[in-house]
Symmetry: C2
């Protein structure tokens, strides 16, 4: 007997062949139907979500996590609006990237094609279900969705809507499938199905991402784990640096593009921290610093070795003083996750070294790391932020979900 | 105590930071020095290679395999010429792919960067050592090379030359490292070193590639396994089809872009096979067919289920008759390796369906599958042929060895 995961992955592969060659109009029609169905079914969605919320609450989920899980009328409207935004994006498949005419008369065209079947592995936020499926549909991919067990009721209703929308547009409803059994063994099985799954994309905390990376036999796009640093150089504009550090830490601490560790040059550490500390204290930021940082202001606790490289995702940050840009870059190499790194400096040469030598998806001079985001880059909807170097790096839009193939027209050519 | 593999991978990572920002001139100088050193050291190389050949011969290696292992003066000249060709290719790093100016004044530039450290896992052909290293050097990557144990003496001398060339150009010799201990456990260790290795590229037979794919925790670019089909449609020009099938099978049967299975429409099977069989018999091709194919001509043996999907890499082929283009495409889906697939037909609609629906790196109409090759596509030197869909597909040149990053210039922007 085949497991649920094999049955759904197989069916998704069959569906992927149909949606892979569907017209832009047909895919857009499905998305428009889905947006409408989301709005029409707001009450059903909220009712299902309430079941998840009640269950999570009785199992002791924190308020912050409950908030991630919760769907409200306005959040459902946002989901529908997000789906309609995907309608407006350019269809990324069947685009001719290159045409080559060879001396022997062969005409080689490099055209974009969907990846096939995308496995999305994510945690509690049920909006990921709709966001990810919308991007997969637009890019001609089928998807197998595996959300967290805590959002299973919400996801079940949402995927029913996805399937209805697909059907209303004449597309195969197996193009969007949900693993209803959230047993961890089934995810691990999914991640080994190289014959059916073309790529797995994990979205969530470091634990989830590492589990996927370590388990998967299918190709993975690693996303989102962000231990980001801001380095305040000895030639920084210190007032600008205060604003950038505050923004990078405080504006939305739960996101992967927030700063976790401040690096500050010893020459300016005392001056800078005296400006910074009161600003952050007003925002209730817990600061953990090395000895020099602790000396610079009251209220900085002692950092220990576990603080470097820790993704707090909260109003906590670590502070390390460094004697040079080299020491700053060495720290980033050791503890960063290749996500987003920033230098604040007026020294062009230092800025250029940092931009060139720091190995991360996004490297900033004199701006907040919080800008690493598909919308902020002007790419539109985003399926995640890749922290790997193969295939796609940084904010991933529709282009992350396509591959290409070479089609070759001949007139009987044979190779000599 | 750290193992050889950890020591070399770590050193390669350090070296990768230097070569990653080296100028085009410096990298080209290293390549030119390597080409000269190869020529100067021809006798040493041949002497080392003789040791490998003797050892392999006494261990019963076949003549065909001995030929793959053998280095001659002319093959060494070819290697040096190959390295010089890489000098002439455009440097693929530090290329600005996109510039985005955001309304808030942020200037975002997407620039190509090297991948970092490339692990090459390959088999007996020692020329891969030099070909792969040359492409890595040009693209600013360090490489850890792990060739087959049977070519260890040849590879040791070749890597010594690579290191000398790097040094003569002022580059870190750790940019090219050879695993001298060819114990299989060490390859497996190498494939888990996510902290040092950015990508593993296997080159060789299906067994090697599957071992790498199944073992690796580092990202992999799957290459080269090729079960390619030619489908002769009912509306094919049968004489053209004979030439294409002959070429796809016979011109170099050991390569991955050669045809393994012929699919032929039942409407034309008898006519076509009567033309084809004598041509292939003259070339000593062993044919294994289904019942209809066996009826069409004497000398066609019975195929069994293990024939479909088998990569013979030899003058053997299987023949299957199909009742429709759908049956042909279904067979390809089931048994193909997404490498190269061809249709021979005068029917434009059938050709377009095949081109669109067949999922492979290269899909041909009326041409031999043998053209899937970096040089034949006009890309220059090739590090392998990717049969996966992520990152790079089909013939891989220098662009397969780069990633990109976003560098962002601001003037103190913070996100609201």
């Amino acid at each position: 007997m085949e497991s649920e995961v094999v049955i759904k992955a197989k069916a998704a592969q069959v569906a992927s062949r149909e949606i892979g060659i569907a017209s832009t109009e047909q895919k857009n029609k499905a998305l428009i139907c889905i947006a409408e169905l989301l709005e029409k079914n707001t009450e059903n969605i909220i009712a299902a979500n309430m079941q998840d919320i009640e269950h999570a609450r009785t199992h002791g989920m924190s308020e912050a996590m409950l908030d991630r899980l919760r769907l409200t009328k306005s959040r459902i409207e946002d989901m529908a609006a997000g789906v309609r935004q995907v309608v407006d994006l350019q269809d990324p498949v069947h685009i001719s990237l290159k045409e080559i005419c060879r001396p022997n008369g062969l005409k080689i065209t490099k055209v974009t094609v969907p990846l096939g079947v995308v496995a999305m592995i994510y945690e509690s936020r049920p909006n990921v279900t709709v966001d990810a499926a919308a991007l997969c549909i637009k890019s001609g991919n089928a998807c197998v969705l595996r959300g967290g067990s805590e959002s299973i009721h919400s996801n079940t209703v949402l995927v029913r809507i996805l399937k209805q929308g697909l059907q209303q547009a004449g597309l195969n409803p197996d193009s969007a499938a949900l693993l209803e059994n959230t047993d961890r063994a089934l995810v691990q099985e999914l991640l080994t199905l190289r014959q059916y799954i073309d790529v797995a994309i994990p979205r969530g905390g470091a634990g989830l991402i590492q589990m996927v990376v370590r388990t998967a036999k299918v190709p993975v796009i690693e996303t989102g784990s962000g231990v980001c640093h801001v380095y305040v150089d000895k030639q920084a504009d210190l007032d600008m640096a205060v604003r950038i550090v505050e923004n990078a830490k405080v504006s939305r601490p739960s996101t992967c593009n927030s700063m976790e560790t401040l690096l500050v040059h010893t020459d300016v550490a005392a001056d800078f921290l005296q400006k910074l500390i009161p600003v952050l204290q007003k925002q209730n930021v817990e600061m953990r610093g090395d000895i020099l940082a602790q000396k610079a202001g009251t209220g900085v606790k002692a950092a220990d070795d576990t603080d470097w490289g820790q993704e707090y995702n909260a109003l906590i940050m670590s502070i390390k003083t460094v004697a040079s840009i080299d020491e700053a870059m060495e720290h980033i190499r050791r503890y960063g996750t290749k996500h987003s790194e920033a230098i604040v400096t007026e020294d062009t040469a230092a800025a250029e070294r940092f931009l060139q030598e720091v190995d991360a998806a996004a490297v900033y001079v004199n701006a907040s790391t919080r800008y690493t985001d598909g919308f902020e880059f002007g790419f539109g909807a985003e399926i995640g932020i890749s922290t790997q170097k193969l295939h796609v790096r940084g904010p991933m839009g529709l282009e992350a979900l396509v591959s290409y193939k070479y089609i070759i027209h001949g007139q009987g050519q044979i190779r000599t």
